[in-house]
Symmetry: D2
Subunit: 346 residues, 4 copies
């Protein structure tokens, strides 16, 4: 190992759920990060390596009970992988110290308190909603650089907005959008629920939250901010895979819109977006375990309709990977630091 510059000290709230443990994995392998503290309600007092043996020798840390007042002590950054509702109060407390917060919950994603209330109930600190930055680096890199609260987006909005915002910015969208998403079961979290048992999910597929899922307002907010006022119809589906998210997006196109050119100019140089191009579509396995999104598309001329398919790992680019990417942007590191991954296939 070569000399590393000073490390950035990090605390993690909620380090043993699915999003949390993937975050811990990425932080443990990140050359510029030192994990000082990680909390877990379920496993407080245990060593991380006792819960997830693969951390043995890579990150030797004992899990703590969450104490919001202590969480930010002696660290530069707080990552929160707590569930929505719990996260906000913890983060409000953490912000009393000079830390940057990266929140993986929904608590700071919606900018409008009224909209937040409609989907999640009362917010404990609505005045902070306007201060957070919605962290998709490809779409908001500059604002992330000096953010104090970075709201790491949900997996579904990331998969949708990466494709739709460039089209909206180019004025290419001509009508109502359909987003049909297929997600792995880890997206539902690690809480024990009958409907998520192996014998329920295996050899099954179903739609849920049809037309009314909580990630819809994030997608709409992202489009409205670009001046796109077309409606969005969104249907998530639960698939029998652990990780991965495929979104098939149906976009009525303005005549003359050149979707290839739009994607090439907006996303062509992005380190974590791979444009597969016209007529080639992604497999979720090719992004599994990585922070990469892949995008393919076709245009049906007769119907003036683009079909755009995006793939990402719901715990990677749709969660913890993107959190680390935001961290890298925020602290001026090479954006790939700690994210130099190649999907393990098969």
């Amino acid at each position: 190992m070569t000399e590393t510059p000073g490390k950035i000290r990090v605390a993690v709230a909620g380090g043993t759920g699915y999003m949390g443990v993937e975050l811990m994995r990425l932080l443990a392998l990140h050359p510029r990060i030192e994990v000082r503290r990680a909390t877990s309600e379920q496993y407080a007092g245990k060593r991380l390596a006792d819960v997830y043996p693969s951390f043995r020798g890579r990150l030797e840390i004992r899990l703590e009970t969450l104490d919001a007042g202590k969480l930010a002590d002696g660290v530069d950054v707080v990552f929160s992988a707590l569930p929505h509702g719990t996260a906000a109060a913890t983060i409000v407390e953490a912000l009393k110290r000079p830390v940057t917060v990266l929140d993986l919950s929904a608590d700071f994603r919606l900018r409008d308190a009224e909209e937040f209330r409609r989907w999640y109930g009362e917010h404990p600190a609505p005045e902070l909603l306007g201060q957070s930055v919605y962290g998709i680096p490809e779409l908001a890199r500059e604002r992330i650089r000096d953010a104090r609260i970075i709201a790491v987006p949900g997996c579904y909005p990331t998969g949708a907005l990466l494709a739709l915002v460039p089209l909206a910015r180019a004025g290419a969208i001509a009508g109502p959008i359909v987003v049909d998403s297929k997600s792995g079961a880890s997206g539902a979290g690690r809480a024990a629920k009958t409907e998520l048992l192996f014998a329920e999910v295996q050899e099954n597929v179903r739609a849920y939250g049809v037309g009314r899922h909580r990630h819809l307002p994030e997608i709409v907010q992202g489009l409205r901010a670009e001046g796109c006022s077309h409606s969005v119809v969104f249907t998530p589906h639960l698939l029998p895979i652990r990780r991965g998210l495929l979104s098939t997006i149906y976009v009525p196109l303005q005549s003359g819109a050149n979707i290839d050119a739009i994607f090439r100019s907006s996303l062509g140089a992005e380190p974590f977006v791979q444009l597969l191009g016209e007529g080639r579509f992604p497999d979720v396995r090719d992004v599994r375990g990585t922070n990469e999104a892949q995008i393919g598309w076709t245009v049906l001329e007769a119907e003036s309709m683009a079909i755009v398919v995006t793939a990402l790992d719901n715990l990677g680019k749709g969660g913890s990977g993107q959190a680390v990417q935001n961290f890298n942007v925020r602290f001026g590191l090479d954006e790939r630091t700690g994210l130099d991954q190649i999907a393990a296939v098969p």
Copy 2:
């Protein structure tokens, strides 16, 4: 066992592919059917029970090489589960005998020879295309009763048309339709292909034939026949499940259209269609191994959009089950004969 009335004698061409073996299973358990002959290129000469042990004692038959001239000898009915292309020539030959043919391939589904050529190439007997009946009993029961050639529809068209034809007949469709379908791997057949290996499909999902799949013209043909001229955009996806097909269908609605009433009046009394109603959506596992289709829906008022979700087993109602249902209709039997199934859950 009680006395059964005279059995109807049946031959099966292509009895060991995925569609074929499911057909054999249903025929073996059908109280009014006697399987006289079954062919298999791969296993000719072997006992069916040597290939699929579960048939031991239920259907003791030796598999034969396909001989189109002999296939229809001494039987009343020929079922063909041959691939498209091969099926037509075999069926033309079989029709020289006084038999009824139920074809599970695409060879007699499109009525227009020009359209057929576009998707599949030259048809060996285009003059027969107009004589077959497209066999979705819920939509064409009367014409099936005296059909000589029944083209059993593809799984995707069945899942789409069961929902769309009632809406089209009621004049409820107001604009372009999106059909986003998710299918199990058995739909791709049993031929050895790298892309269908377990290690390729497991933990993966991908779109294919985006906007240009061969089942699209069947869907369009079905809608055009009802006077619906709206465009259809169709995207199939391959899922890591063996059997099952879920289609999420986005339908712009005419104002005032009452989708509940339309489905109740058109499909409410169907033995093999279960209407789950507004706000409840099907799981493919609940139809697995059966001839049932389940349909749920919701209407997004602000967007004047119905989202209809249909589930079926691609080898059941999307294939061999529907073939037997057609058989029952054609021969005046109770439509449930041999199809008295309950999905094995989990």
Copy 3:
């Protein structure tokens, strides 16, 4: 439908767990059974078809809260798919009426109260332990015919004893036995537990209860009853499949033992056992959804060791299917009644 003779009236305690719903499916399709009552703690008050839509039109029944005093009212037979511990007290109460009981729990499987206490704790009615019959019809058909309590065996013991008892009876076993079993996740039941979540089980396999699983004493009891005193080492494994159980059994053989002849003479005529013979081994998919067990074997001459592989469906021959088979034996019906199944492959 032809005239059926009088139906036998049945109550089911615990009808919506994995074992329970498979039992309900078999009972609903059984031509000689009328299900009068079914209980469910979780879904009491709901229609069965609201919980499992596939029962619509096949078994229209409303689920009830368990009331042990009422359970046996007006029925001839009580099936219990309650968990061990709960089952015994309920059954003791039910036996106050003139009913036959088929119990799918462990509560009446061990004959020795001391042994029961060691594995499960105090038994509420130890005096009844000696009265039940351990219901593997292939091994104890005569005693089942007039049993009042039939303890339907666990899935693991069925898979082991079907192979081992014939060998023990023939005096063919020469030393310590190893039983290495691989089971689907439905065997662990439908209670919500983190370790059974899809994202935990998928792409995983692990051993559990190594050398000390509660099904071990059932296997040992079965062998001791045949005079076989060799030790049994038993390791169950959890696999990412919903249903199915494969047991690989390593048996030191007496010199001169003819395993083919032993299996042919003991099991060759059994309707629900398929002997695949020397050098051919079963796939669990070939018994899925059925009451069949398949057995294959080989003998390693140099090591004087037989490797016997048995496959069954843990909810079929390893549970509810076997319960119905016992019922058929007990009531003098053709043993295949209601169990005329062919595995749905793929």
Copy 4:
């Protein structure tokens, strides 16, 4: 990136099969390796990133047709992931240049030409058999340091020998050993075979090569070399997982043998072996995608039997990961170089 010392130049024969692509992934991420050349029969002429998109930007290389005479040109090391039979001839040719060869096939694993012939047929260069080193670093580290041909072991032997060799060296094995292994489907390679189709493997499990699998002689050779002459009975099973191998090993113990002490002293300091200890058993998911092996065990005192369970990734420690570990040992690098992985869970 910091200054790296001179890179070691590498060629890969067979870079797009399952073992090959995992090797490519590890080599691409290895800081001391430069991949100069990779061959692929199926994809020669294509860019690696066109076949496996995740390599884009990480390893930009065009795949070549295998030319044994050119393979070793200008490189220091040849990795071969060719199938057995093909590998030997290629390697004989490569050895004409001053290269070190790491072979992932079976062609140099058995030291005895007669034994090789029995299992694989005639060897093209039997005189080389005695020159290769069987590369399990934990068991043969010193000999690897100056090896010219390193035969990277099969996945099954690695899982068995890591546990058995320490026991054999300690003289702790008292009788015949049973190795019952459960493997993911990638172990069977990427050739298109019907039996490996998703719809065949999913929801299935089966034994194969029972008692006579080609990996058996490797296990026996490893034990005989340690003076252990007890017989080994070996049964592999195919599981519906992509990657991962669990071996449950039944070992009659010498009285007084202290298995904990044996494992601690032999493997306790190994960077890629994690001893879980008495009564704790590994999940294959905890080693997936890594070069780690995990080992748990229990001792049944009454039966004088140890049950040892080992888990590894068949493409990691059971293949390409171990190849890279051997490379690191051979070239005097820190053994963890390029293998600093944490399993991605879930």
